[in-house]
């Protein structure tokens, strides 16, 4: 393949409309940013504890409770969380044996009752919290150096990056599958999570061998897979990236685990959990801001989930909801210090193949998004909704997706499986998908640079229409506010209320005396408001 270039200026778009969309997104996001900086959540507090070294579980088997959960629950019961968990925790550590792990276990077992310190004791706890937090922040930032070192040692993968999913439920089975995929040419491996993990208000512990249609995201599973991919990267002379999901009720903790285990990308959308998982919107917005600051500092590329809007609604009628959501995701990413180069904004090839000129419409959508976000590593998702048991037709359909991806310079290509909609992919399905993608991307790589769309033609007019619909939608959302817009079902036709959904009881307004050096230092390092 020739050098990857993003084809820009291929169709004329109304740049004033794009500017207005960005301004509207900033207006819409402002109350969310205020919410995020004035609240904390149980998962942010647990992530903070994890980052300073609290880990492990109390009890055994399925009844085991993670120590970070136990400590947060105990602190909440004793002194509340309005001022954060770290001060009462480090007060316990400093008035105990001084060891973080040992004192965490004592709090978990009920041996020590957390207290809010006063006077000199407060200074001592604060000093320790500051010191441990600074070290934790350095460990997150070290992910960037560690990744750069690994890449310079083995060499980077040329773009576009081919992205594949493994999902056996057993980390020890996922590893050989991931390595096999990498050897065949896969550049990014995602380990899909067990169904329902997003709704667990704790992170499972250790290496796991059983999951429902996926493998649990645990820190040990992250470590094992990263080590296996490092091994295969050395063998191949090409850095293989690793992805997981910072979403659901434990978004901040999973982001923290991903940072220290040097994951490279994380699925992280501003509205996915609210709309598709019925997680409370306040919880999602607060958790998301914290997790995005971590991603920003750790050099992790986020992948947003706009493809989901098209799997649940008509991909032509709802094309503008993708672009609207991308502007919002972009704004909320900027507010958390994520540079454009780490915004893997998502979209998908989901138009019904029976729609005439389907390819032209897909080209219009994909090129419009490319033009609107010239510096973002866009993530393009293959057809799923209209895939059937006709695997032969499906293979061609995936080929057309690859062609549109190649012609519009999409950076991250999630490879379509011809058996999508039949079963979880066979080993051979992944291999065939890579063969398909390699053929199309090699065959069309210079063609992308040659293409211009007819001024005033179908593609350009369709792109203009989607941009205009996006502007109108964002104006409407700005007028009533983001919370009211979600309550009115403006996203994916799904109504979610401000106080409904899962996890609201884990959202806590910060008191004036809230102390969390982790969030303070994160904000300082990524250059955003605390």
């Amino acid at each position: 393949m020739t050098d990857f270039k993003r084809p820009l200026g291929r169709l004329r778009i109304d740049t004033e409309a794009v500017d207005e969309c960005r301004a509207l997104a900033a207006e819409i996001a402002a109350p969310i940013e205020r919410l995020a900086t004035s609240h904390t959540t149980v998962s942010i507090e647990r992530a903070s504890l994890r980052l300073v070294g609290v880990d492990g579980v109390e009890g055994e088997g399925t009844e085991a409770a993670p120590i970070p959960n136990r400590v947060v629950d105990e602190v909440r019961a004793a002194v509340g969380l309005e001022r954060g968990v770290l001060i009462p925790f480090f007060h316990t550590v400093e008035t105990g044996c001084g060891d973080i792990g040992a004192e965490a276990r004592r709090i978990a077992s009920g041996d020590r009752r957390p207290e809010w310190p006063e006077g000199f004791d407060l200074d001592i706890a604060l000093e320790r919290a500051n010191r441990e937090s600074a070290a934790a922040i350095d460990r997150i930032a070290a992910a960037v150096d560690s990744r750069d070192a690994a890449i310079s040692k083995v060499g980077d993968a040329p773009k576009p990056w081919f992205y594949e999913i493994v999902a056996t439920g057993d980390i020890h089975e996922d590893i050989p599958q991931a390595q096999a995929a990498a050897r065949e040419g896969c550049d990014v491996v995602a380990v899909i999570r067990s169904t329902g993990q997003s709704l667990l208000d704790y992170v499972p512990y250790g290496a796991t061998t059983e999951g429902f249609a996926g493998t649990y995201a645990t820190q040990e599973n992250f470590r094992l897979m990263r080590a296996a991919l490092d091994e295969v990267s050395s063998e191949l002379g090409r850095y293989v990236r690793m992805t997981n999901y910072a979403s659901g009720l434990c978004m901040p903790e999973i982001a923290a685990m991903a940072a220290v285990e040097r994951l490279d990308m994380m699925l992280n959308d501003c509205m996915y959990g609210i709309i598709f998982r019925d997680i409370n919107m306040q919880r999602t917005f607060v958790d998301q801001h914290f997790s995005r600051m971590i991603h920003a500092l750790a050099g992790i590329i986020i992948n947003t989930g706009e493809d989901n809007y098209l799997t649940t609604a008509d991909a032509v009628e709802s094309a503008h909801t993708v672009l609207a959501s991308q502007f919002l995701n972009e704004r909320l990413a900027l507010a958390a210090g994520l540079p454009e180069e780490q915004m893997g904004l998502g979209h998908a090839f989901e138009i019904d193949p029976d729609v005439p000129d389907q390819i032209a419409l897909e080209l219009a959508h994909a090129q419009l998004i490319r033009e609107c976000f010239p510096n973002a590593p866009l993530k393009y998702m293959p057809p799923t909704k209209h895939m059937t048991g006709n695997v032969f037709q499906g293979f061609l359909y995936d080929g057309m997706f690859n062609l549109v991806g190649a012609l519009t310079g999409q950076d991250i290509i999630l490879l379509g499986m011809m058996t999508e909609g039949v079963h979880t992919p066979f080993l051979s399905d992944r291999d065939l998908a890579l063969e398909n993608a390699r053929y199309v991307f090699r065959g069309a790589s210079t063609l992308a640079g040659e293409i211009r769309f007819e001024p005033g033609g179908d593609v350009e007019r369709r792109a203009a229409q989607v941009l205009e619909e996006t502007r109108l939608m964002l104006r409407k959302v700005a007028e009533i506010g983001m919370f009211a817009a979600i309550e009115a079902g403006m996203f994916a036709d799904t109504v979610r209320t401000r106080d409904g959904g899962k996890g609201l009881d884990g959202v806590i307004a910060r008191a004036d005396g809230y102390v969390n050096p982790i969030t303070d230092l994160l904000a300082e390092r990524v250059g955003v408001e605390r």
């Binding site: 096999a180 050897r183 169904t195 709704l199 249609a213």
Partner: protein, 247 residues
Amino acid sequence: MTAIRPYGDATDDGLVQMSFTLPITEGERARQSALQLARSMGFDRPQVVHMKAMGPDFTFFVVYGATTHTVDPDDVVIAERDFPELRSSEVNRLIRENLKRRLVVVGACTGTDAHTVGLDAILSMKGFAGDKGLEYFAEMQVVNMGSQVEPSEIVETVRSEKADAVLISQVVTQRDAHIHHLSEVRAALEAAGQRDGLVLVGGGPRFSPEQAAELGYDRIFGRGTKPSEVASYLAWKIAGRMVATGA
């Protein structure tokens, strides 16, 4: 009918196209292994038309062969599923045209079980294994009560929401707790006079469909059930039934 065979490009040639992967390094031994396997599967004169290494440890094959077997369609026993599998548009249409309002579904995990994975797989928009959940259906109104819901709360919600159907999920269970908990819900609904006219459905990996009668449920769904099956069943049972009875 008489016995028939697959049709490749001539009557009775019996030709079948298949592909599979063997955990073996690519090479002549791999090719012969694939052929031998095809012969053991009942294929005459098999041909490996494509063989490709997939990494050092696996080989992919495309194989053609003429099957030695035949089938007489008259001898085939068809397992009758008592409800039709409907596409989402058909589910919505059936409800819209016959029920003439949205079908109200209340779902809950009851008893000690805090695992909503099964319930959410069926109810939430996201669904399960690529199959959209009941929330996705425009004509269904879903009330997801979550976990550890008391039978009395379910009774109250059925009343206030004017539910057409109730889904009770049990995932993690010890001894026969899942059976006990389902029975409690049925008893509470009966005691409140709400069982009649309500479609009561249970589900979870430890159940099997035959248990419906014993538990006093209209239907029990076991492991691996997709949301579309539940949606088809509910639409058929509630909106389809009205057509059958002319109601």
